[in-house]
Symmetry: D4
Subunit: 170 residues, 8 copies
Amino acid sequence: MTRVCVLMGSDSDLPTMAACLEALERFEIPYEVMISSAHRVPEKTAEMAKNAAARGIEVIVAGAGSAAHLAGVIAAHTPLPVIAVPLSGSALNGLDALYASVQMPRGVPVATVAIDGAFNAGILAVQILGSGDPQLRDKVAAYKEELARQVASKNARLQEMGYKRYLESK
Amino acid sequence: MTRVCVLMGSDSDLPTMAACLEALERFEIPYEVMISSAHRVPEKTAEMAKNAAARGIEVIVAGAGSAAHLAGVIAAHTPLPVIAVPLSGSALNGLDALYASVQMPRGVPVATVAIDGAFNAGILAVQILGSGDPQLRDKVAAYKEELARQVASKNARLQEMGYKRYLESK
Amino acid sequence: MTRVCVLMGSDSDLPTMAACLEALERFEIPYEVMISSAHRVPEKTAEMAKNAAARGIEVIVAGAGSAAHLAGVIAAHTPLPVIAVPLSGSALNGLDALYASVQMPRGVPVATVAIDGAFNAGILAVQILGSGDPQLRDKVAAYKEELARQVASKNARLQEMGYKRYLESK
Amino acid sequence: MTRVCVLMGSDSDLPTMAACLEALERFEIPYEVMISSAHRVPEKTAEMAKNAAARGIEVIVAGAGSAAHLAGVIAAHTPLPVIAVPLSGSALNGLDALYASVQMPRGVPVATVAIDGAFNAGILAVQILGSGDPQLRDKVAAYKEELARQVASKNARLQEMGYKRYLESK
Amino acid sequence: MTRVCVLMGSDSDLPTMAACLEALERFEIPYEVMISSAHRVPEKTAEMAKNAAARGIEVIVAGAGSAAHLAGVIAAHTPLPVIAVPLSGSALNGLDALYASVQMPRGVPVATVAIDGAFNAGILAVQILGSGDPQLRDKVAAYKEELARQVASKNARLQEMGYKRYLESK
Amino acid sequence: MTRVCVLMGSDSDLPTMAACLEALERFEIPYEVMISSAHRVPEKTAEMAKNAAARGIEVIVAGAGSAAHLAGVIAAHTPLPVIAVPLSGSALNGLDALYASVQMPRGVPVATVAIDGAFNAGILAVQILGSGDPQLRDKVAAYKEELARQVASKNARLQEMGYKRYLESK
Amino acid sequence: MTRVCVLMGSDSDLPTMAACLEALERFEIPYEVMISSAHRVPEKTAEMAKNAAARGIEVIVAGAGSAAHLAGVIAAHTPLPVIAVPLSGSALNGLDALYASVQMPRGVPVATVAIDGAFNAGILAVQILGSGDPQLRDKVAAYKEELARQVASKNARLQEMGYKRYLESK
Amino acid sequence: MTRVCVLMGSDSDLPTMAACLEALERFEIPYEVMISSAHRVPEKTAEMAKNAAARGIEVIVAGAGSAAHLAGVIAAHTPLPVIAVPLSGSALNGLDALYASVQMPRGVPVATVAIDGAFNAGILAVQILGSGDPQLRDKVAAYKEELARQVASKNARLQEMGYKRYLESK
């Protein structure tokens, strides 16, 4: 059963947002992905948000750029936690999307991650699902250990090769 | 018959947005004023926007601060021109509201005025109504002449008094 | 009869501003397009602005970058609604043009759209013309429905193909 | 049993962070509140983060200003979801804290809310707890309806009184 | 004979701009001061700029806030050097005025000083007048020596009193 | 006799600063150009500034990027007017250089032009030389007329060709 | 023997810079404090910087606001480490001073601390002196433990009182 | 014996951070270089920082981008001076890393250099080591003289060739 719904404002956002889906796949979280726009299909977007909880969705991720209203509009229609991915691509390079996502008014929060931080939005969704699920939480802990191992292995390689050969080998 | 609908996200916006109403009153434009929030009453806001044109509204003005989605959400639901007043008051002092208002995506524009520029939103609404109405346009032209007279009269007073006495007299 | 006048500060702005003309053509709005500069041909610019209303122009669109004064200077000389398109291209990437366009003083508003938002300036001009013209307003509504259909069709394709094949097919 | 741990970098953050506690109290979520600093008591902070999940904590909220590292440091040590409240108070008015909170690197997300958005951090924590708990989710939905009623009631009062009397009565 | 013309967009700018006049008085430069607005009295402003050189004016100083177009509009109409004082007072605290003043397009420069730097605008005007006038230049050099003496005397006092007593004595 | 001294912090600034020299050449102003750095050759820079007036220099232009101190350091040592060209090239894209140039303290102004506005710095230098020299001032006026003619000719071509062919022909 | 020299651009900076002196006093570091200005007494400033090392100075701290050139100018004249304290107080609230301090060109670094971070500049100076002095380093370590104890004690008090009484007691 | 420890958050930072190592090599300072991450290997990072002084390290350099916590986390665990290199590469182009590095809270300073200023971080480390070591300090002075000679030689070449040939020859 689908647990996470990933939305984006335009299909031009898909190359960036794909990293969110990869994160969810890594943890074998069933998800759905949709193109929806707060400004172009406002009613479908509202409909989707209103029905999400009843359909079993537990977390919603919304990626949008420029005057990024998608996450906020979704949050207005659902009691579920909503994660915003502010996307770059405008002349303001995502700063507009960051402000439009994170500065939500009292009572209607949106959990905002880094500009273009789609992968982290997926990880955060998994962490939310795992907050009451020890098994999934352990998987997140294991993932964090893997991150640590990657750093350790790169560092070991750097110590072995020295920085000049390391740079050349990349 | 009501021609302009003025919305704001919260009654705390009213002291600033009142200047918009004064501008409309100055030109005897019938208006309505409502508190509506894209995030707290999304359905009523959408309803209002969808029905506005049929009710005879010709221009909508929306004032909102922080992640100011109100004007954009309204614009998503109506073919009418929508004017946004980005409001200060957040830690980012209205820059968030400016970006969230003006950086709308292709196909769904919002006519944005200055941060806290509620009076100018009213004047712009009048100019829009007047774009096809020579009589109202002449009133706008007369208003501009009055602005010019005010500057001329202040300047005359400055020439007469000199800047030191002018400063003391203020 | 020409209803919209589209100005730009330099012919280097034309590739961006062309999108405004396309938007107007889409709605079959008769327009004129001119290169005019608030700083290089100030008198012609003022002349143009002063005569616009008498010549039947109903809306003026002005695109300019850097210290973008064009829309403000036009607005100083006409009771017509003036739309500003702040253009990127400077080291500040259009933020200078945005501030110089939107932060107009009391009494002389300029309707500002997104940085490089020339297409939306055209749509806003149409919305202004349509605010008192039900037929044109219906065309705007129909255009919005088309936008919705495009999103729906992209979303349907995404559902059908899955995101990986969708990405490859682009 | 304590479900949410609320941390802040300094007791000078408490007046702002108290709103988070009020939000949690409103939903009767058992919480603990601590002063902890990523820079002044780094080991205790790490200890706390490492033990949180085992102690039954499900969500951590961290409020910090300036170079706000608290939430990120916590997130480095726990698989639990971590919410950051960037706090104003520095010369950069919270923009430093926002960037230092939201721009987390790949693999270690932090769910960031608005600058000084402590109340919303509390609501977001409740939404996270409620994502797999229909009863709590219904309480969030009921809270959202209350927000809507408040707006509706203020609007009704505005319609009744007119804006001038409304402003005077405030 | 008047050598410097000092303009400002509004009489609310006079308290800040007075420092420019004091600087000119200090060097006994004959000046005139006027309220003029690029947006409210565009024609008088243009007239003034066009006639300035013929009237013997050698330097023009223009102070304006928000979308500060005054200096740029003046510069469009005169071959004289134009100094801009970007004024704070808007929600963007003068950053809008700075960008709108300094980012002038190729061919039409404006000599911009600090936000609210009216005194320095006066000194710069004197330096420009003095660039070809050894006597006036010597006065500027003498003024700079006085600045140095003031610093030296404050420093001497600090050495004598120690910083604690110095602070108390202020 | 050399009338304008053009300085830059590094020879990597020369491609941008060359436009200043072209502007001076256009008006046949004798100039000198030097690489000098406030941070790498502080004493030579100070020496140069202190001797400039005695050597007959009337205006100094200084181009620098990043923490652009060159113009300010020059201004500290000379009563001559100093023009700053803030240069882009750093991660902050010239905003650092703009702030470091324009925000000079009371008593020591620097005439700042646009980021990378080297050509305009040359024009401003000419305007300063021309402020007391009617013949040179007339040349500036003639230059401005040429700018106007260029705009007019481009506009005429646009009217003749229409925007689509104009775009293709570029 | 004086080991640290603390400079500031103006005596108006003393109330902020005093915190640097307190930090040095806390560690019993002999210091001197001077008012010196890169723009008003450039030669004395250069003299001071050039002689500092020979006089036994080991670290220089420079506090300045606006276009803060003091630290950079000092660094140009000495091989000693120079710490910059960017000061707020301008319309840009210290962002100008931060950029003008930190963005130094290749070869001439300045160690920049937070805006108005005078106390930390003192601590950093002590850390630099202590980098090769185990006894002083131990004092810094002890100071850090004291910081930790303060946090622990405030936290203990918060646990004991609860947040409501804690807030009231402040 | 290793005197400087250079850390970076990821091996993708190595191409930029290599300049720091080159600076250290130029002064024959023994150093070590490690990949370590405040967020991915927090415990090893803390361990490294805690042991650094005992291992004879005198200065630590930490390069990190985005929400750059590395230098601050290190500084929390050591009495040694810590130098931060904020790295660009994020959508905010290093501004996030600058704020997250420089705005450290009272008591825990970090010596911040320019965005991507890795070479200067190396020079600053040398200056810190040299602050109590006249021989090393003399080497720094000699290095500064070399910088001056380079500028002088480029300037001489410019004088000889003229700017046009100089540009062509580059």
